[in-house]
Symmetry: C2
Subunit: 248 residues, 2 copies
């Protein structure tokens, strides 16, 4: 079986531009789905952890690196790749808004792809290759769920940000509008936010205060950051008696 099964990594990379959630896509050059947009993806190397592979693939195929990564789901339905059984461990990635258009993290296609571009997630350029549309849908849904109990939003913002910035992230992801005053109150209550002295001139009217998130960067308990939670185990007594004994 293992000879015929392909294992790949695909990453849904998100960033916020102009108040809209964007996803990073690359254009395929080979069959099948030649010419279609797809998620940056590729094969895992033999001695490479998943996260490292995802980072590498993202940088090789789209010129983007240094993102925050979290495993999303593993898709393995027979038939999702017309060539044969294919298993994709998928990740989603978040990167700060400013990094997108500004120089070093501009998307550009790597070898094997003819283009790499950011696209608004609610306005994709046609159906994606394979089941990648479904993967994007699910990533987006997960994002919208998880942002309420995990400090994901701060990975989409630069180190210092205003409450408007933060509100923009929530509004883009959740798709609802929030009252600025109530929103600020809730954020200050929920997260560890430290005020930063200066103000960033957003050429708006009244200058907005700057904040910095100083809490944990991810929710404790995730397997990426699992510190082998304390677990009481009995000393392994009796490795001998090995009969089928049903407990309870």
């Amino acid at each position: 079986m293992r000879h015929e099964m392909h294992l790949t990594i695909e990453t849904v990379c998100f960033a916020l531009t102009e108040g809209r959630l964007q996803v990073l896509l690359v254009k395929r050059t080979g069959e099948p789905f030649s010419g279609a947009w797809a998620l940056p993806g590729g094969q895992i190397q033999l001695d490479e952890p998943f996260d490292a592979a995802a980072q590498r693939i993202l940088s090789e195929s789209a010129g983007v690196w240094g993102v925050y990564l979290e495993q999303l789901y593993t898709f393995g339905d027979p038939g999702r790749d017309p060539r044969g059984r294919s298993v994709s461990v998928t990740y989603y990635a978040l990167m700060p808004a400013m990094s997108v258009g500004s120089g070093m993290r501009t998307a550009r296609p790597g070898p094997g792809w003819s283009a790499a571009e950011w696209h608004p997630v609610d306005q994709l350029p046609g159906p994606l290759a394979f089941d990648h549309g479904r993967i994007v849908s699910y990533a987006r849904w997960r994002l919208s769920q998880k942002i309420s109990y995990s400090p994901l939003a701060f990975h989409l913002l630069p180190e210092n940000f205003t409450m408007s910035d933060l509100r923009g992230v929530y509004e883009a992801i959740v798709g609802e509008e929030y009252d600025p005053s109530n929103f600020t109150r809730q954020m200050l209550a929920r997260w560890d936010l430290a005020p930063v002295p200066g103000t960033r001139d957003r050429r708006s009217r009244r200058p907005a205060r700057l904040y910095r998130y100083i809490g944990p960067r991810e929710i404790p308990g995730s397997p990426d950051s699992l510190d082998e939670i304390e677990m009481e185990t009995e000393p392994a007594l009796d490795p001998a008696s090995s009969e089928s004994e049903t407990r309870d």
Copy 2:
């Protein structure tokens, strides 16, 4: 590379007995970790969906079937198996309390295992094989998180149950005690619960009312139950192409 990578499925199967959360373990007979307890697991067949594989493996290795399944995480760190690169797509399973000890779903070891038993999750019989201890920890943590926003608890109960039963599930999983009165009020507000006429004689004092959960069995949006969420796409213009072979 694909020749050297193993892909397996492991399942953390939970059930509640005597108010404690139990996990289903099997005892290994082969190296490595011969004689150690491990999660029921095995290889995926070439044309088999993950869920089907998990159900099959659970029934083959531990004699248990018909459980509720949800994908947990995919573990693929190099070094997690001393024999070489191994990737495990893990699931967690939930089954009603009554099924455990009662006949048809008694745990019993399949070929290749010397034992199959339920063990209290906070009192495991020594360190588990491979990184399975870590997997159990994570499954348990996920369960404790997800029970608050997903109707997981009802998969651990028979069709009809009392509020005490339900409260027992929450207390075993979350590890806190709840005020019976407040708990009932919250459950009735959060979930779709229909009262069932009779009462089950739990030989307690005052007979408790029976309820049945009539809402959706899993949270909508999960990829297992994804109905290809609506997504506006522009028509795919420019299907120009070239060569090269990139997989996904």
